[in-house]
């Protein structure tokens, strides 16, 4: 948890995270979107500064413009508002492996200092203490998109010294390990959390705290991280959400909550 005094703020830490993540989506980019936090951020971007962003979900829906956030990656809302809907074989081979997607947007259960992701198991693979959903499209997104954004809440359970399982490769062992493995994309370029923004060091690729959200101290981010977190010489403070960003996000989430309480 952050040390923000919420009573003094007009927004929550989750809203700050979603807004900060949304800002990183460039207008016009083709963005492969994971469900949950990434989906909220990508759609907020589309509804604010990035109206020409092409949103793609792994259900094969390309150029989708949902009015409410989907609960699953294949809700009818996605297919009805898409430019085209393609098969599973096509979305992964022609579009993703084919190098057509500029930006991948992922969530994670656990992450390490090189932005590798675990969404498979906690504990031993053959006798796990917690069985998580698994890979889905994430390894292909992490490997093949031009670059990758990752968004998740920051705490010691999620930001760990060593992953129990590497589901999707970030910067692997750091340095030039992606190039050595001939992974096509650049890999993760930012990790956006409820506390701040981490970006990989240009050379070592180790995640470095470069921005804290308003009211969050550097120390609190360090203590929410399960390894000795690298901190930039100059840590920025993230601009707080604008009135418009907050209004659009809350409107989107209210519409979504209404839709999912009955049939969607």
């Amino acid at each position: 948890m952050s040390d923000v005094n919420r009573s003094e703020q007009a927004y929550t830490a989750d809203e700050m995270m979603t807004v900060a993540a949304a800002r990183m989506v460039r207008n016009g980019v083709a963005c492969f979107v994971g469900i949950g936090l990434p989906s909220a951020a990508a759609n907020l971007a589309r509804l604010t500064h990035a109206p020409d962003t092409v949103l793609i979900y792994e259900s094969g829906t390309i150029g989708t413009k949902p009015a409410v956030l989907p609960l699953s990656i294949g809700d009818g809302e996605l297919s009805e508002t898409a430019d085209t809907v393609v098969s599973m074989v096509e979305i992964f081979s022609y579009w993703l492996e084919g190098g057509r997607i500029g930006l991948g947007f992922l969530g994670a259960a656990q992450i390490d200092r090189f932005a590798n992701i675990n969404s498979t198991v906690i504990g031993d693979y053959d006798s796990p203490s917690v069985r998580l959903p698994g890979a889905g499209g994430a390894p292909a997104i992490a490997a093949s998109c031009g670059e990758v954004l990752i968004t998740l809440r920051q705490n010691k359970r999620a930001f760990v010294e060593k992953l129990d399982f590497v589901t999707s490769g970030g910067h692997l062992e750091g340095g030039d390990s992606r190039e050595r493995l001939r992974l096509p994309g650049k890999g993760p370029t930012a990790v956006i959390t409820d506390l701040g923004i981490l970006t990989p060091d240009p050379v070592t690729k180790e995640l470095t705290l470069t921005s804290v959200h308003p009211g969050v101290s550097v120390e609190s981010v360090v203590s929410a991280t399960g390894w000795p977190l690298k901190v930039a010489a100059q840590v920025q403070t993230t601009n707080p959400p604008t009135e418009n960003e907050l209004a659009v996000l809350r409107d989107l989430q209210a519409r979504t909550a209404r839709a999912h309480s009955g049939q969607a």
């Binding site: 996605l78 599973m88 081979s93 203490s129 698994g134 390894p139 292909a140 590497v166 049939q263």
Partner: protein, 285 residues
């Protein structure tokens, strides 16, 4: 030519104990009615294949139908865990479940290879992940032309594939649209197939490039209106997200899950009975 027969009969004839069975449909058009009928007929020791096990395989695993799961993402989309899948993997209840685990791109390649009757699928995948360390069904080959290291995964050739589609005509030609996932590949890869449909019509009125499975590649067509509930059939009904959310509570404990299966599936004759039973219980929200 596809036989147009009731679902009960199709499952009895086409699905046997020990079979490798794929029920496909990526979020959309999930053949729930067929999964329920397999539970009712108490098939055992199945190898269940599906990219996203979803609530349908949670029900079948919890009901004791499965010995093995071939998959790439096993959650309740947007809600959380599949509790019955987790219980089987973590605690071996109601029986241990072997896993053949992949990433989506690998499963798609496996089905495409199966439909092509090739021995394996090839993709630029699984690099930088731990999956190959735990799964002998993920291996690597060198491209004979460029030397690039590529992943190889064995073809999936189900004994039977079951899908749900919007329409069939009276000869058993099948039309589907919207999110079509890997259904076509899964049917073409299988030795036998069953397609449940929302309606059977005189004329499909399908444009030439529509996803049509001609009658002669389909084993059986069964009319099951609403048979994809609580997933959806585009043009017919929406995804019942409220049911997906309520499944979290129903499935969390073994007792509540077993009571639900006993009342709504084992205690009903068919899918219409199931829907009526849910409505009585106030769960068809």
């Amino acid at each position: 030519m596809a036989a147009i027969i009731p679902l009960k009969e199709a499952v009895r004839e086409f699905v046997h104990d020990g079979d490798t069975v794929a029920l496909e449909g990526f979020t959309h058009l999930i053949p729930f009615a067929a999964g329920h009928e397999i539970i009712r007929q108490q098939r055992r020791n199945l190898t269940l294949v599906r990219m996203t096990p979803d609530v349908i395989y949670d029900q079948m695993i919890g009901a004791g139908c499965a010995a093995k799961l071939v998959f790439s993402w096993g959650g309740n989309p947007g809600v959380g865990s599949l509790h019955r899948l987790r219980d089987a993997v973590e605690k071996g209840w109601p029986n241990p479940l072997a896993l053949d685990e992949h990433e989506h791109a690998g499963m798609a390649a496996r089905y495409a290879a199966g439909a092509s009757h090739l021995p394996f699928g090839v993709l630029r995948g699984y690099l930088g992940t731990d999956l190959p360390q735990h799964n002998p069904n993920v291996r690597f080959i060198d491209c004979p032309f460029t030397g690039e290291r590529l992943a190889a995964v064995p073809a999936i050739r189900p004994d039977v594939t079951i899908i749900h589609a919007q329409k069939a005509d009276r000869r058993g030609n099948v039309l589907m649209w919207g999110v079509v996932g890997v259904q076509k590949e899964a049917v073409m890869a299988a030795a036998r197939s069953i397609v449940t449909v929302e309606e059977i019509v005189d004329d499909l009125n399908a444009p030439p490039n529509a996803v049509v499975l001609p009658s002669w590649v389909v084993g059986a067509v069964s009319l099951v209106k609403g048979g994809a509930f609580p997933s959806y059939a585009q043009g017919y009904y929406s995804r019942n997200n409220a049911f997906y959310k309520s499944w979290d509570r129903i499935s969390r404990e073994r007792e509540s899950f077993q009571a639900w299966i006993a009342r709504h599936i084992m205690g009903t004759q068919d899918f219409d009975g199931f829907m009526a039973s849910l409505e009585t219980a106030g769960q068809h929200v």
